[in-house]
């Protein structure tokens, strides 16, 4: 009996090693452990053994069963794992095949840049104001200290509807409208579309976009103007950006400045984008002219303010390296896809 048991164990161990599939494993289970399996059949012969041998043989037989069951379980797990692995391997795909994309469009680059600018100024506590594109001469010029026959009117070639109504040449009329309707403190930015009768070329368009800023309160200084625009330039072009304020003249600000930022491409070393100067002019700015405050009913002795303005199209062109403003209005899908 003992020999037979050992014989079974030996055969089982040898058979186990040869098992390679779950099917063979099942055959093995039937052969040794099934109801008609070798071990089961042998145990049926237990009755013929002497009573004192039975417990011993029984223990050995159970040990063998437990051993085989355990081995079987381990082997099954290993084989299942291997089989799963093989199945998954056979399902391997080419991950370099391009993805299936949902249809997705893009915002126009001008919108994207405007959103970025808005976020910067909203973060500094500015609000967004808007005004009409077809505007009264009064708001576009007179209330901004540009009376009729002022030479500054030549600089901004104006589309007129009639003597009193025109297409706004800048977003500044909204300054006046806001100051008329709202008491200081005022802290706004004004994005919008503006018109000048320039023939179209790579750098000119009769329609373009500006973003304007206005702050009016007690104690506003030119230092504040410099501070705000420096924060803005760093936020837009990167923390290493520097700003340079040069004296200039605008009828609606005094003192006035033109503002250069260090070239975002060459960081001041000089390149094609900045015409090898290291600087790019992007802003006109200044302290709100006392007459402009007066026109809007704000006492220039009590209050002061600053204003600034820039061309959105120009900022977009600088930011994206676009060398022809016409591309912005052509709307070729292959262009729009890039932003």
């Amino acid at each position: 009996m003992r020999e037979k048991l050992e014989q079974i164990r030996l055969e089982a161990v040898q058979a186990l090693e040869k098992l390679n599939s779950l099917n063979e494993l099942e055959d093995f289970r039937v052969r040794f452990l099934g109801k008609k399996g070798e071990l089961t059949l042998l145990l049926r012969e237990m009755g013929s053994l002497p009573a004192d041998e039975r417990p011993v043989m029984g223990r050995i037989a159970n040990e063998i069963r437990a051993f085989l069951e355990n081995e079987l379980e381990t082997k099954t797990a290993v084989l299942k794992e291997a089989e799963l692995r093989q199945k998954l391997e056979s399902e391997a795909i080419d991950v370099t095949v391009p993805g299936k994309r949902p249809a997705a469009g893009k915002l126009h680059p001008l919108t994207t840049v405007l959103n970025e600018l808005k976020d910067i100024f909203l973060g500094m506590g500015f609000e967004v104001a808007e005004g009409p594109e077809v505007e009264y001469d009064y708001y576009n010029f007179e209330a901004l200290n540009i009376p009729k026959n002022h030479p500054a009117r030549d600089v901004q070639d104006t589309f007129y509807i009639n003597d009193n109504i025109l297409l706004r040449t800048h977003t500044s009329p909204v300054q006046v409208r806001v100051m008329e309707s709202q008491k200081p403190p005022i802290k706004i930015i004004v994005p919008g579309r503006v018109y000048r009768s320039d023939e179209v070329d790579a750098t000119h368009s009769p329609i373009f976009h500006q973003i304007e800023g206005l702050v009016v309160d007690k104690g506003i200084t030119m230092g504040d103007l410099k501070g705000v625009l420096d924060v803005f330039a760093k936020a837009l072009f990167g923390p290493e950006t520097r700003t340079k304020f040069r004296p200039h003249h605008f009828p609606f600000t005094e003192p006035s400045a033109e503002v250069d930022v260090s070239c975002a491409i060459c960081h001041g070393a000089g390149c094609r984008v900045c015409s090898y100067t290291g600087w790019i002019e992007i802003l006109g700015a200044g302290m709100v002219h006392p007459k402009v405050l007066q026109y809007a009913g704000i006492d220039p002795e009590e209050y002061s303010g600053f204003a600034f303005g820039m061309g959105l199209d120009r900022i977009a062109n600088i930011k994206y390296g676009i060398d022809d403003i016409r591309l912005l209005f052509e709307n070729d899908i292959r262009f729009l896809k890039q932003f």
């Binding site: 469009g105 100024f121 002022h150 589309f159 309160d217 501070g227 052509e330």
Partner: protein, 797 residues
């Protein structure tokens, strides 16, 4: 304003390099556009004295010259006919560069060694007006006595540098060499030297020669004149011609050159008349009379109007005041006696006249900005002095001065610390006064008040803000510390409209559409392109009085043409599929002609062609936008018509029953007008109204706790029956337990009778408080089927 550096050095010292000077000037407000190096393209050309001229042994037309070029004597072969021994000529030595990139090398001409080249005027880019004799065919013969070997650029003053300044419109005083010299002195802290103007005694008395009458003193606050007799018109000296040329003014003759020289130097435009052309020997400054004309110096006839100021004699206009002289009183070679005019004209008047005549001149662009009443006299004397220095004539004693305005300096009083308050600085009053003194402003301080005496050439300075700018630009904009204002709290958030607009744009791009930006003006003819047949029916648009062209002359009332143009552009660039939208205002006049501003209505337009796009994909996009704005249930689509659209595939879009837009497939003829050879769909919506009406408040609804019962409903109906009709019946009979109605199939063709279609719906029934039993669902479902049969003639399939 082009300023030759050597000229400006007459009035102030420059102790830095030109490049440094340019940077410094830019930072004090005189922006430098460009530094121009004069004569840059000429090198190694010197003055030579021709010692001998011999015949070339092998060529009849060539001669061999021996030329003293200072250090040595060289042999040069030339073909020029005008060389003689003893002449001084420009010699391009071996290695010399000439304008146009020409390099001169030694070589042999017909076997004879030539160590350089003798230059003509043309080869040095000199014209007759630059140097008399420069225009002749042959070598340029120098008239002055120069030492052989001298650099030709030095001899003819062809070198040096000029700085081109951008002068802002508030600083007409800087449209002059002395103005720039003054700014250089302010910037560099050097001394400014006004040119010394002094006259030698002349002859006679001007009152016997000329009278001046100013009839409109408002437009001419000061008119001054001098008379010069025995005038010898001829070329002005080399130094004056070179200075004019370097400043960009063409030399003409000594008298005209003097007027231009003084204008450049002092900033005061001058004019010279031939006194023989002044009838009655009387100058009358008056408005033009109706119908008067004048031929100006540019040889063009000008129609004058009564608002224009002219300089006239007793009969006729002889100049347009401040703009241009008349050809009828021009200085000619025969001129013997002249009148110099120096005057101050009203700035807006000159600007208007110059604009109306389409005639801008060096004179008008100065006058229109407002000039100094005191420089008028100085400039006149300066011109007389130059006449004496150049020996161009005999100055008659005395000058005429018709003056109706004050010559006194203005004073302004401000609270001096306001300057600090505006700039964010804390300068002492002494520092402020010191800076103002540097820019020529005298000050007197009493307590808080600073009284400033403003030079008459600074009409732009009116108050504290202007003084602050003067202080800031000299102190240095870069020294103003950067601060961030305190206390000016503002909310800094997006408006409701902006937030909604941003959501709409993001939804549209998320749905696969690209945002486009197009021009807001268009052609009146565009209505024909979008299907309007009768011009009388074209919608009335805001018209631009001075458009760039007829095709950009009206403000658009619809974005549709722009959208079609973009679709067309992409289609014709072989883009297979294009889905776009634009959000911008359209301009709707309240009445025409415009008396008040038009309504600017924010409008959404969408256009699509290509890949799986059709009426329904576009409609789906609009429904998505409506849902986003909480308007999904309030929007409906009705079959309609539109000139631009396919009759059978056009819908009007209604919000709460009111039209807010339209959509549809583009009419084949309109497609053709836009060179679109592909079915395209477009929509246009009044986004303003949608945003104003939007309701984005959300309220949670409990998730269903009881199961739903689904029933399908396949109907055969007449083709004319619409989905909206069917849905209305279903919903009307479905009652509270009908949760969802979904159309999942429309079919025409086999097995369906001619003129009919099959429409398959999936209905979901559910009660919120119980599990529905079949009987209850069946009863409702049957009611729906019965109503569909009765009301729409539908049959179950």
């Amino acid at each position: 304003m082009k300023v030759p550096v050597n000229w400006v050095k007459d009035y102030t010292d420059i102790n830095v390099s030109v490049k440094e000077l340019a940077d410094m000037m830019t930072m004090t407000g005189s922006k430098v556009e460009e530094i121009i190096t004069l004569g840059e393209d000429i090198s190694n050309v010197v003055v030579g004295r021709i010692l001998s001229v011999d015949r070339h042994p092998d060529a009849d037309k060539l001669v061999v010259c021996s030329v003293d070029v200072g250090q040595e004597t060289v042999q040069i072969v030339t073909g020029a006919p005008n060389v003689e021994a003893g002449q001084l000529v420009p010699v391009a030595l071996h290695g010399a560069r000439l304008p146009g990139g020409v390099t001169i090398k030694r070589g042999k001409l017909r076997g004879v060694e030539s160590q350089g080249m003798l230059c003509s005027g043309e080869e040095l880019m000199l014209k007759e007006e630059d140097y008399p004799g420069a225009g002749v065919n042959g070598i340029l013969i120098l008239k002055e006595d120069y030492a052989p070997g001298m650099d030709i650029k030095e001899a003819l003053d062809l070198g040096g540098e000029a700085i081109d300044f951008e002068i802002t419109s508030n600083r007409p005083d800087c449209l002059s060499i002395i103005g720039i010299a003054r700014e250089i002195a302010i910037t560099c802290g050097t001394e400014f030297r006004m040119p010394e103007v002094s006259l030698k005694a002349g002859v006679g008395d001007i009152n016997e020669e000329l009278a001046v009458r100013v009839e409109n003193p408002d437009l001419c606050p000061r008119y001054m004149a001098r008379v010069v007799k025995d005038v010898k018109v001829g070329p002005s000296p080399q130094w004056m011609r070179r200075r004019l040329a370097a400043a960009g003014i063409r030399p003409i003759n000594n008298i005209v050159d003097i007027t231009n020289y003084v204008m450049l130097e002092m900033g005061q435009p001058m004019h010279a008349f031939d006194i023989e052309d002044i009838e009655g020997r009387t100058i009358v400054v008056r408005n033009a009379r109706p119908g008067e004309t004048i031929k100006t110096l540019d040889d063009k006839d000008r129609q004058l109007t009564e608002d224009m100021l002219v300089i006239a004699d007793v009969k006729k206009p002889i100049a347009v005041a401040g703009v241009m002289g008349g050809a009828n009183s021009e200085i000619t070679e025969k001129t013997k006696c002249i009148v110099f005019e120096s005057a101050l004209f009203n700035a807006p008047s000159v600007r208007l006249t110059s604009k109306a005549l389409g005639l801008r001149s060096e004179s008008s662009m100065r006058f229109e900005k407002g000039l100094d009443i005191n420089t008028v006299a100085l400039a006149l004397d300066r011109a007389a002095q130059l006449v004496q220095e150049l020996g161009a004539g005999t100055v008659v004693n005395g000058m005429l001065d018709v003056l109706s305005a004050s010559l006194e300096k203005r004073t302004i009083s401000v609270r001096w610390n306001r300057i600090n308050e505006l700039l964010g600085l804390s300068l002492t009053v002494d520092t402020i006064c010191g800076i103002l003194a540097r820019v020529g402003i005298e000050t007197d301080v009493q307590g808080d008040t600073l009284t400033a005496v403003i030079p008459t050439y600074r009409n732009d300075i009116e108050g504290a803000a202007d003084l602050a700018e003067e202080v800031a630009r000299v102190y240095g904009y870069d020294k103003i510390p950067m601060t961030l204002m305190e206390g000016s709290a503002a909310r800094g958030q997006r408006s409701r409209k902006e937030k909604l607009l941003s959501c709409v744009k993001n939804r549209l791009t998320g749905a696969g559409l690209y945002e486009v930006v197009t021009y807001s003006f268009t052609s009146p003819d565009i209505y024909r392109a979008i299907g309007y047949t009768d011009p009388a029916e074209y919608p009335q648009a805001v018209k631009i009085a001075n458009p760039l062209g007829e095709d950009q002359s009206i403000m658009r009332r619809t974005l549709l043409p722009s959208i079609l143009e973009v679709l067309s552009r992409n289609y014709n660039r072989r883009i297979s599929s294009c889905r776009i939208f634009e959000i911008n205002p359209v301009f709707l006049p309240k009445s025409l002609p415009l008396t008040e501003l038009p309504d600017e209505v924010l409008t959404l337009a969408i256009g699509e062609y290509g890949n799986d796009t059709d009426f329904y994909t576009l409609k789906g996009v609009i429904e998505e936008v409506a849902d986003l704005l909480g308007l999904g249930d309030r929007l409906c689509f009705e079959r309609s018509s539109h000139p631009a659209l396919h009759h059978g595939r056009t819908a009007q879009i209604l919000l709460d029953g009111k039209p807010v837009g339209f959509m549809g497939e583009v009419h084949p003829k309109v497609l053709e007008n836009f060179q679109l050879d592909v079915r395209s769909c477009v929509a246009e919506l009044d986004l303003q109204t949608l945003l104003d009406t939007a309701n984005t408040e959300k309220q949670y609804k409990a998730l269903p706790r009881f199961p739903a019962v689904n029933r399908d409903l396949a109907l055969i109906v007449d083709k004319k029956v619409t989905a909206a009709q069917i849905e209305k019946v279903i919903k009307g009979k479905g009652g509270k337990i009908l949760e969802v109605v979904e159309l999942f199939d429309i079919y025409e063709g086999k097995q369906i009778p001619e003129g009919c279609k099959s429409m398959a719906y999936s209905l979901t029934y559910r009660a919120s408080d119980r599990t529905l039993v079949d009987d209850e669902v069946n009863a409702v479902h049957q009611k729906i089927v019965n109503a569909l049969e009765a009301e729409l003639g539908a049959r179950l399939r």
